[in-house]
């Protein structure tokens, strides 16, 4: 007789936690509404990659990608990359909030510690959605073969949210460990390039030397790109399988959330 009550209490707790995390997302969305400039600056980098790097490499025909044009191949990679490059620096907001006292204000509320991590990382995911618009728009004009059915687009949205959330959680962990802005920026820089180049964003994993292939296979960006490639482009196959792509991404995100939850309050000490 006690079990159902206990279960009910637990599911209520879960709902409460989700609502509290959504309050953090809401704060972020309200900020964007007051000052939406960031949504536009975010769009510049993927545009440059597609229009300059993508077009040049497509003409060079240097990278053999089966059955598809090179632009088709890298558009999903550019989309994932553009989210990675911004999300990886998201943790600086935690340092900023610590210095301002906003973090302290949240930590004295009875919200579970996980709320801030979930809320912050989901907010980062939401911010990354603006980049889908620009990549799709440019892709359309470049004649990239986009899948435009609703289900595929929802899949892309889900993968982008997860990707932005995953890398911003990684960023929160780094911020909690290094604690200082200057050190944080250095580490962010060090991480972005290996994550980008040791992935399947620009070239197939099969073209890489063995050691790099190993790195690519443990790199969460590879799974994100793989899933996006299938969901975004007509005729592209998923290398790992869509289920694996989402499964690995969710599992790594969950692991990172657990680590971040355990360590971020220590940024105050």
């Amino acid at each position: 007789m006690h079990m159902p009550k206990k279960l009910e209490g637990r599911s209520l707790d879960v709902i409460k936690t989700v609502l509290q995390a959504l309050a953090i997302v809401e704060a972020d969305i309200r900020k964007l509404r007051h000052d939406p400039i960031e949504l536009f600056t975010r769009m510049i980098q993927p545009a440059i990659w597609l229009l300059i790097f993508g077009q040049a490499m497509a003409n060079a025909r240097a990278i053999p990608v089966m059955e598809s044009s090179y632009l088709d191949y890298i558009a999903p990679g550019i989309l994932a990359q553009s989210v990675l490059f911004i999300s990886i620096f998201y943790g600086i907001a935690l340092i900023w909030d610590r210095d301002m006292g906003i973090l302290q204000k949240i930590l004295v509320t009875p919200t579970p510690r996980v709320v801030l991590v979930l809320g912050r990382s989901m907010a980062a995911g939401v911010r990354s959605l603006s980049q889908i618009i620009v990549v799709y728009a440019i892709s359309y004009f470049l004649g990239i073969h986009l899948r435009l059915d609703l289900l595929s687009i929802l899949g892309v949205l889900a993968m982008m949210l997860l990707g932005g959330a995953l890398f911003s959680t990684l960023s929160l962990i780094i911020a909690s460990v290094v604690k200082k802005r200057e050190r944080f920026m250095g580490i962010g820089q060090i991480l972005t390039m290996p994550l980008f180049f040791a992935s399947n964003a620009l070239y197939p994993i099969t073209l890489m030397p063995g050691w790099l292939q190993t790195l690519s296979i443990v790199n969460p960006l590879s799974y994100q790109v793989d899933g996006l490639r299938y969901l975004m482009i007509v005729g592209e196959a998923s290398h790992f399988g869509l289920l694996t792509d989402f499964g690995v991404t969710i599992a790594i995100y969950a692991l990172l959330v657990a680590i971040a939850t355990a360590i971020y309050p220590k940024i105050l000490y």
Partner: protein, 266 residues
């Protein structure tokens, strides 16, 4: 019988091997205002950070509203409000939005939220500025908003870390009035830190002088002044107790923090 709102029992915090707060004990009656005074680095802020569950307790204990700080910090958080020394209002949001997000974090339902936010805006004289972004507020308005935010869930104990630092005299006085009203109208217990002896004298029922992590003196302002002669001020008490033994307090990090706080727009 009077109720105890906050009780510290040999509360201690070590930064590595340095005892920032060293076995301090006291009781604070419900509905009273306690001022923690003392030079920079005396352990005032560390004490507040422990009591608000932001810093771990190295040893000792504290009971806040009947809950153990060490054993059940989550329960303690439900009963306390905290306004840090730094600027904790979100400048990119409006005053209303700041209150709204806090209300949601405390899990207040829609009806309660609406009522509570309206009450607090009114109480702090911010109703007509509710929809303005906080980065256009004056320093005094920001402080009032921050205190309103900390009161959203009707906490029984409120912690204020140097509440009036950086405010002009008029803003300072109006904030004192609000703090007093809070005590009178709602019986809120308040624990604040300050460097301002006039503030301590005006606001506090009890003051405690901290020095090198210890509480060296604790009494009513009147009783403390009486010990130093008929015309003594709390400044005299402060200098009398700590002046001879301390070097000028504070380090680089502390100075940086204070300057940043002072630069809040006014």
């Amino acid at each position: 019988m009077t109720k105890t709102a906050v009780e510290l029992i040999e509360l201690t915090h070590y930064y590595d091997t340095y005892a920032a707060v060293d076995r301090i004990s006291f009781k604070l009656e419900s509905g009273k205002i306690l001022g923690l005074l003392g030079p920079n680095g005396a352990g005032k802020s560390t004490t507040i950070k422990m009591l608000t569950t932001l810093l771990p307790v190295t040893s000792g204990a504290a009971i806040i509203c009947g809950h153990s700080l060490v054993a059940s910090p989550a329960l303690v958080r439900e009963h306390i409000g905290y306004v840090p020394q730094m600027l904790s209002a979100d400048g990119e949001l409006t005053g209303y939005e700041n209150l709204l997000i806090s209300a949601k974090l405390y899990g207040l339902n829609k009806e309660k939220r609406k009522k509570r936010i309206a009450e607090l805006l009114e109480f702090m004289g911010l109703t007509e500025f509710a929809d303005q972004q906080v980065n256009r507020y004056s320093g005094g308005m920001i402080r009032r908003l921050e205190i309103a935010t900390a009161l959203i869930h009707q906490p029984r104990v409120l912690f204020l870390d140097e509440p009036t630092v950086g405010l002009d005299p008029a803003a300072r006085r109006s904030l004192w009035k609000k703090i007093k009203e809070l005590q009178h109208n709602f019986g809120t217990t308040i624990l604040l830190t300050t460097h301002d002896m006039e503030e301590a004298d005006t606001l506090c029922d009890i003051v405690a002088f901290m020095h090198l992590g210890h509480i060296v003196l604790m009494d009513t302002p009147a009783a403390l002044k009486a010990k130093y002669g008929p015309h003594a001020t709390l400044d005299d008490v402060f200098l009398g107790y700590t002046g001879a033994t301390i070097t000028e307090g504070g380090d680089y990090a502390h100075a940086k923090e204070i300057r940043r706080t002072v630069s809040r727009r006014d």
